[in-house]
């Protein structure tokens, strides 16, 4: 039984394991970093620490939209790698039993499949669960 934070991109609902989340922040000033992939929006000052932020929309092939009051940065942490993802809004925290998580086939486009480790079912809702490790290790190579 793991807890997940549910966030929204348009009408799609995503879930991210709460144990990888360091903090959730409102949008703040982002400094662009040149020579980075287009989904890297830049870096923010997170309490004196410089943290890169990624546009979740860009990474997952959505169209980018204007940020608004609901926009949040979820700061993820794995090992000693830290990065934030920008999402449309944060919904709630849910608990999903491991038995209610199904693996993914080819239902998603090939370029974002690897960032997803499964689909979580809560009653009638379906949550796309992120593979945080894969997202964070992406820029490493």
């Amino acid at each position: 039984m793991n807890q997940y934070i549910v966030f929204k991109i348009g009408h799609d609902e995503y879930g991210v394991d709460i144990s990888y989340i360091r903090i959730i922040e409102r949008l703040m000033n982002i400094t662009r970093v040149p020579k980075t992939p287009d989904y890297v929006k830049g870096v923010i000052n997170l309490r004196g620490e410089v943290v890169p932020v990624i546009s979740f929309r860009k990474l997952f092939g959505y169209n980018e939209i204007e940020y608004d009051d609901e926009t949040r940065i979820i700061v993820l942490n794995f090992d000693d790698i830290t990065a934030g993802i920008i999402v449309d809004s944060i919904d709630e925290v849910v608990s999903i039993d491991d038995g209610n998580i199904e693996g993914v086939g080819d239902i998603f486009g090939k370029y974002n499949k690897e960032y997803i480790f499964g689909i979580g079912k809560i009653e009638e809702r379906l949550l796309i669960l992120l593979d945080v490790k894969k997202i964070l290790l992406n820029e490493q190579e």
């Binding site: 400094t31 410089v50 820029e139």
Partner: protein
Amino acid sequence: MDVNQYLNLFIDESREYLQKLNSNLLYLENHPQDMETINEIFRVAHTLKGMSSTMGFTNIANLTHEMENLLSEVRNGNIELNEEMVNVLFKCLDVLERYVNNIEEMGIEGDIKVSGLIDEIRGLLNLSTTEKETEDKTISVNEFKDYELNVIKDALVKGFKPLKIQIYLKEDCLLKAARAFMVFKALEKEGEVFKTVPSIEDIEDEKFKDNFTIFILTKRETGYLQQLLLGISEVIKVIVEEVHLNEGVSNIDVSIDVKTEKIVQDEDEINQNKKEIEKNKTSKTVRVDIERLDKLMNLVSELIIIKTRLEGLDTKANQDMVMAIEYLERITTNLHDAVMKVRMVPIERVYNRFPRMVRDLSKELGKEINLYMSGEETEVDRTVIDEIGDPLVHLIRNAIDHGIETPEERQKMGKPSKGKIYLRAYHDGNNVVIEVEDDGKGIDKEKVKQKALEKKLLTKEEILIKSDKEIIDLLFTPGFSTADKVTDISGRGVGLDVVKKKIENLGGMVEVKTQLGKGTKFIIRLPLTLAIIQALLIKVGQEKYAIPLSSIKEIMKIRVENIKKVKGREMVLYRGNILPIIRLNRILDLDDEISNSSRDLTVVIVKKGDFLAGLTVDSLIGQQEIVIKSLGKYLSNNRIIAGATILGDGNVALILDPNILLSEGEMNYESVHSV
């Protein structure tokens, strides 16, 4: 008992003790009569023995045991210390160091052949003990040996009382040695134990029945000591008596001694005080993981940023608020300084290894050299300490090998036969300066010129126009060595350029001053800390960037029409040389700028070694001290950005790495040249 968890502690502590051993041995070499030093060495060997046998490192324990045997004979006055012994002790130290290294690397001490060394020690013991054995027996009739009497006399002068303490343990006491150890441990703090019956070794080996006697010099009251010792479990009886030197003769001795030895003693006392202070220093420290310090540092910089924000708020209306913010400012500044200080380590840590190195090398090369060190207490950032060791080793080796002449040569030149090497460290503004100076033969400029020609680094014409300083600086070119012969120590030509590179990597610089026949001085300047640098803040488009001041040569304006295009590369003439222009906005993936339309371009000229290039910027913001932060692992492969910093308004500004910018420019530049 699982001792693995103590392994790191053991390694750390052993290193500390080996260092102590090293410095004491060096001191002993020059002051062979100094009993205090011999005692100290004995204590260190003893502690090491105890530590290592607890950890199950029997080889170390065995070797230190042998060292102890030798030292205790010296301590008891049975044999006299000579050079041979010091050398053997040094050898032991080397072996111990290797053991500890092995332990650090593999977790086991490994097999190092020490039987020869142990034989050597035993040889020293036998040879000299036989001489004195007969005498020994007669002396043992008296309660105290000569040297012990001396110790007592000294102590009486200083106001210490000699006490005789008899300690009785429970008859069925199981760990007699352990109890005895606790007794010693307790007494250690109260005074100096100078004799035991039976001997310390025998007590440790439990070669006593249920009681032993300790003679101690102390200022404590007898009753206090008695209570103290009775507090140790399984000690059942303690008899403390004052020792009176029986004959009046010795009393007279004392008074005479007072007169003659007073001065010496004062000096001793000072030394002792010094040692005591040092001891206190080490015992009152805490080891802290550097990561925790970084975290603390982060929090402080954040506090400073929020403070700047508070200052910017409109608070004129509220006088109290203004005062409170001023107060906050003072505190944050102090806090910042304090945290920075925590990261600072005295340079002594690096210095420690040099006396030994100079000693060994000068012996090997048949040179006589005194090393003078000053400024050991000068503090530098932890990161600098880790990096500066190798360059200094290089410079000192150079000084010994190439700088200082042999005693004969020196005498011929009318110099004292003993050469001098000075190692100095001091603070100078925001820099730490380290100097390595020798009074040797200096650098021969003509020789350097000749070599430069041979190696085709310069043409004849070029040499004529170069200044003396520029000629000397050739020494820092890779592959350059003026040594006539290559020795083991230096002269392979891999020296000075590596030194220079390392120091530049640390954000510092190195310069040479030399006078033929008089000596050479290398001056290294390093920033106090690597976490904070001076930088120039500039604007490109709407974005702010920082360029480290250390790599900026100058800033100037150039007219757009002066830019020439050579094979698609932009160049301007700058002081008779071609200066490639790097358009920062293009490198930083920004749209072509507004400034394109203006006639003047602001160009920041940056350097990388001898190579220069001009970076175009839109405007200059100013010079500022910045705290360097990493971009984090996620973006670790970004090349042109060296890091980031947080500005007063809380925003992040990126720090450009001119080295990378230039090496990309350099490539283009050369391709232009070859056409």
